[in-house]
Symmetry: C2
Subunit: 143 residues, 2 copies
Amino acid sequence: MAHSHEAHHHERPRDLTRNQELVLTTLNNAEAPLSAYDILDKLRDEGLRAPLQVYRALEKLIEHGLAHRLESLNAFVCCADANCHGRASGTAAFAICSNGGRVDEFADPEVTARLAAWAGETGFALERTTIELRGRCAECRAA
Amino acid sequence: MAHSHEAHHHERPRDLTRNQELVLTTLNNAEAPLSAYDILDKLRDEGLRAPLQVYRALEKLIEHGLAHRLESLNAFVCCADANCHGRASGTAAFAICSNGGRVDEFADPEVTARLAAWAGETGFALERTTIELRGRCAECRAA
DNA sequence: GCGCGATATGTTATGACATTACGCTATCGA
DNA sequence: TCGATAGCGTAATGTCATAACATATCGCGC
Ligand SMILES: [Zn+2]
Ligand SMILES: [Zn+2]
Ligand SMILES: [Zn+2]
Ligand SMILES: [Zn+2]
């Protein structure tokens, strides 16, 4: 509706509210994915009291491409790929270590292309893609 | 209630227990993914009372490749691809319609290969892969 | 048949994850 | 000033999943 000339459509990463900033910082400092309740616990001292405060912040961060939800874990990570919030990215994929919980984010253009091709052939209007690999990372295998 | 399971014609399932059979049948009859609690509700008349009875059956069905868990939905579908329980399958992918809930299972060897290649390059010991597409199916778009 | 391990089952209680509903406040532009 | 939009705080509730424990059943060597 309100459709004025508008500046640009890329998001300003630093337009974050206090809660969003707190949640993003928490994710950035974490070495493994955090559940919403994990995040909440870490932010009690900052005044957060209810899950919804975290979920609302996460929703916005994910919208802006600053964080991701890992469906197979019911947990969240901060984005590790500048392309995700910059320009059109390939679909993000995540390799999740079963041992340490370490998560590696990557994008494979060929995978993205093949999935898009399947969607095109079958008339499926693709909106969102989840790709999650489970296994043991190189580091944990060495140890 | 007698167990008349001597003659298993067809290469359908292996020897399933009563609960596993009930759950599989329920999934087969469903047109959309079902949550464990959905399944439980449908099987109250058969004597099932607790979530765990369903989860245990699902666990076995998934082990045998007869059903799949959709991580982004916290729900379950029966397998629609004979290759999943027959031979070495490519990684299964699922296109989930946001509208009707319809799920389409497919496998793209190239996608499987690319992900395996990434794992190989980075030393990641791949155990399990989740690929889920969200969007609107052709049928719903037409309507 | 008997003993025994492996597998499946039934029940209760609890834990973990996520959302609905309501009300308040700040901001911004018509 | 008014109404729309967005964010925030809180309580209650809804949804998904497992722990812990007790029984039952099957297969098989003896
Ligand atoms: Zn990213
Ligand atoms: Zn690891
Ligand atoms: Zn399958
Ligand atoms: Zn559809």
